[in-house]
Amino acid sequence: MPYYAQIDENGICFAVTQTAGQIDQADMIEIETFDEGLLGMKRVGDTWETVPEPEPSE
């Protein structure tokens, strides 16, 4: 069963899913494993980059 990292409009991964079949959707990036570490990372080209955490608001 395939694994996907789903990204928002800024390319940030907000979901990782093991699906029952293929999904052909621009915001679904097929990945090799169920890698929760991708949550919060940014898709740039074909790679994932760490995004600095924002300061919490007062």
């Binding site: 979901a15 093991q18 608001s57």
Partner: protein, 133 residues
Amino acid sequence: MEALLSFFLRQVGLRTDAASATGSAHAKLAYIAANTGIKSIQRGVINLGTSATSATATITSVNTSKAMVNFLGASSEGVLGEFYEGGNVKGRYSKNGHHFVRVALTNATTVTVTRANANDTTAVVSYEVIEFY
């Protein structure tokens, strides 16, 4: 006697009978085996950002009348909030982001997680969608 044996043979059938909801006992058992049980399981995690109270994830299409979603838990780092009085910090408290998280199968291809307050904290919510025949 022969008629009685013939009757029982028709009722019980043979192991090679094709699956059928209306056939012999063997055929009905084959039908049950082929049409009950789990069709698919999909699992995922959804990240709620520091200001997000809901988020959705896409899954492969399921029949919502034959599918269920299980909440597998949530985690959150949490941050400290501060009470002020007269401009001074009076106390601190823990702000957490995973209290009372809900998970719903919104439609055939969408799982939605919701929480009442973001509390400036991220939360990771885990779920699974099980579809039956």
